[in-house]
Symmetry: C2
Subunit: 517 residues, 2 copies
């Protein structure tokens, strides 16, 4: 190995702490980090052709691997391009070590063209920020960054690396720092929930985070058996275990009035790994807080607390340990026939999806049939758009595929959101990832056509409607995929869609199916 | 017109202040603004399928129109996606009224999924930020935003618009506020420059901003005639007037050692519309400040001051008013033959480009032959990547074409940077813009392969080199363009390239030429 420098000490420290993948789009100020990659066998480097791909992939990876990837971004603008998917990762509470190159310490004050306030850009998405000020401190900073990223429930730790701290001599790696364990719920939290469950009054549990792992859901299922508590998942969940042999949960609907209806009549809302529900947007004259009047809120486990342990304690206190949770049975539908539409697509998916698939859901309005159709499919994990910043799906699918090379990833993707980070297709092709992308191409921002009416913006005119329309010209997804090296098909009915889907599932590597609906 | 609300008062105020184009990718919180578009004939709305397209188009528009467009972005993540091109616009000192939707005032505190620190994201790129707190204040805030955006030399004014301030009743538009005139250079500034020019010692003028308009360059040309002062443009210029009948200037080279060579021996460096030169990046053991030792710096006109008036005063004080500046003659090269490479592409462009073309240069390393080849072409404007945040070219070309519908825009575009905001091609197709995009497809981040060596990162290994390489798979630009409705060709020699270029210049609407070099 050639002479140790800050960049090498950083990489060695990250690898020592278990960080194995670097998603990157580097620039000049990051070249020493890039050079160091060849001296670290333990670090895989994955190039994205846009930073939104890089950060979204780190999000998808972190959700599936349960540990952080690192990024490597080029100065403030490179970070800026990745912020929207870091926002989603922040909402998913995904651990990420977000490494951002900076000008050399002595160069910063000169206000060269690429100079910007990197900490300013990073602050809104980061739980931890550090600027390394010397090569000698980089390794220790990196160890702290990993520790911070993994602090329960997981967060973005941004490490800003001036170029001279990368190229100057350094001492080498430092040992990993101990990881912080999640807090356990207090006896008071447990007691309050047990009392609610035993009250005989209408109860629901709203769940997210580590409350929706297979094992935690089993515990929740015992409580449902015990007292009929309703199990509800958040509208958008970072990662949930689903399918045959698992406890199924309904989701809180997206539209506020439907969510209110779902919660109506409850006297106790028990929060497990989440916060009290609020509407996604505000609407004139409508409430933003969704908890019904007269309903008590009990936080069993806040994000960052240990939901599984808390559920275990509640199950025990209720004497429900021996109860058998109701589990989804395997019940694949028949293959669909006839028209290709969101329902037949969901049906074909459930009929054909392989065991242990990873479904990445950014299908928006086109995805309505997916949860129901797949609930009795084979076991799978499901990842949602947690922060509402569209453009998460293709990158997260990319990262999930890198985290889980033995599993098929299915990106369920609206056309509008797919365009945001379409460059991810190239990374799927380069890394030959087993990702099947289904583009629900309705040629519009359909959700906005709904929302336009819902916010009370009356009398839609042609200019307004044109802003919500993706036709003129139609996007041609076969060509877009081909342009980035991903084979693609555009089936026109349910039968040919199923055939294409089966072919993709049987063939290693990425594939795109454009479903014009 | 239906009942006045905040959104309508905003639009009417913007139109009244001369803002005629809104580049947008809106979301739910911006639907009232979108609805108001149909009641304002004076506002053209242009949809981009990603916010980097939106802000880059606003930059290109502002540079060519000399007045601001507005944007309309969706909450913090929508703004975040547009930040990199706002960074470039900030460096170009482009006036932009940057409108960002926000949750309703009462919804902000609930921390819904899309909630973020919008002001935090906006601060690093904005010269002015305002959050409208009531519908009644929106119109006045908008008038101030236009005034702020136009404050010399031009800046980004970010107006954050909570949804309820858009939908609540309001009084209507307010009148435009007076625009601030640029300061004039002081007598001391003028005298110092005149003394330098008369000193007989080696002098150069480094120019940018309003120092490189046709009329300002004529004045600089008189001074060159008067005393031989060397005229040098900044490495990256927001907009420069070039071609036959105009004063040509060399550019300060990008690489620091070449820039140092260009400035070596100078005793006086006169800054007109710019700052003292610094290297783009720092390199180990190399100076970051480029002004030679023993060279005095004279600021004739800082950015925001009136460069033309200052040059006029200097010309007069030197008695150079009657001198004739040396002007470029029209000298188009013959059409190239044989190999397609950066030189033959530049030659074909100069041979064929129409009068008053707008060249948008993001060709990076592939663009080396362009300045020399086009210096004696027909008159044209030339726009550079001012902030180093790649992905500016296609969006800026889009905006420039909307600002100047009677002129052909030529996007000179590296493949790596084109991928960043490739969605701009769709907007070119939708708006049927006269943009010819030339993709210099060398299938690599060539600049980074150079910089890797220059920063002293030795012994490039396969992992490092893979991060700088865009092959595996090759990007297929014909398919990418087709996917977004832009016709395209991939000529393989200089003759067929010229034919494709001529065809594009003769045909209204967008066209893409992929040059594999």
């Amino acid at each position: 190995m050639s002479e140790m420098n800050g960049a090498k000490s950083l990489l060695a420290t990250l690898v020592g702490a278990g960080v194995e993948v670097c998603f990157t789009n580097p620039g000049t100020s990051e070249m020493h980090f890039v050079a160091a990659l060849d001296e670290e066998d333990g670090m895989r480097a994955v190039l994205g052709l846009f930073e939104g791909v890089v950060t979204g992939a780190a999000d998808g990876y972190g959700r599936m691997a349960g540990k952080p990837a690192c990024t490597l971004l080029h100065l403030g603008p490179g970070l800026a391009n990745g912020l929207a998917n870091l926002h989603n990762a922040r909402r998913a509470r995904t651990p990420i070590v977000n490494v951002v190159g900076e000008h050399a310490t002595y160069h910063r004050a000169l206000d060269a063209p690429l100079t910007s306030n990197i900490e300013g850009f990073a602050a809104p998405v980061s739980g931890w920020i550090r600027v390394s000020e010397s090569a000698g401190s980089v390794a220790a900073d990196a160890a702290e960054a990993v520790q911070a990223a993994c602090a329960p429930p997981g967060q973005i730790a941004t490490l800003i690396l001036p170029a001279d701290t990368a190229w100057n001599p350094a001492d080498g790696a430092v040992d990993p720092l101990p990881l912080q364990a999640p807090e356990t719920a207090s006896a008071q939290q447990i007691d309050s929930v047990v009392a609610a469950l035993k009250s005989g009054e209408p109860c629901a549990m709203l769940m997210n985070g580590d409350a929706v792992t297979e094992q935690s859901l089993l515990l929740a299922g015992k409580l449902a058996k015990f007292c009929g508590v309703q199990l509800i998942g958040d509208t958008f969940i970072s990662r949930i275990s689903r399918g045959a042999g698992r406890v199924n949960v309904e989701r809180l609907p997206y539209f506020a009035e439907q969510a209110e209806e779902a919660l109506a009549g409850l006297r106790h809302l028990i929060l497990v790994g989440t916060k009290a529900p609020v509407s996604f947007f505000a609407y004139p004259g409508k409430a933003s807080e969704l908890t019904p009047e007269g309903c008590s809120i009990h936080s069993l486990s806040a994000p960052g607390q240990n939901a599984h342990a808390a559920l275990e304690a509640v199950v025990e206190a209720c004497g429900a340990t021996g109860l058998a949770a109701e589990l989804a049975n395997l019940n694949r539908p028949a293959l669909p026939t006839g028209e290709l539409n969101p329902t037949s697509i969901a049906q074909a998916l459930s009929a054909l999806m392989p065991e242990q698939a990873i479904l990445v859901n950014e299908a928006a309005t086109s995805g309505f049939a997916l949860p129901g159709m797949t609930a009795n499919g084979p076991q799978h994990d499901w990842l949602d758009l947690t922060g509402g910043a569209i453009g998460m799906g293709l990158p997260a699918a990319t990262g999930a595929a890198i985290a889980c090379p033995d599993r098929r990833v299915v990106a369920l993707q609206g056309d509008g959101s797919a365009m945001y980070t379409v460059q991810a297709l190239w990374t799927m092709a380069r890394e030959n990832l087993d990702v099947t992308t289904i583009i629900f191409n309705n040629r519009k921002y359909a959700i906005l056509q709904v929302e336009f009416m819902r916010v009370g913006a009356h009398n839609p005119g042609p200019k307004a409607m044109s802003m919500l329309d993706l036709s003129k010209p139609d996007l041609d997804w076969i060509s877009l995929a081909k342009g980035m090296g991903v084979p693609a098909l555009r089936p026109t009915d349910a039968e040919s869609f199923s055939k294409a889907l089966a072919e993709s599932f049987a063939t290693p590597g990425p594939f795109l199916i454009e479903a014009v609906i």
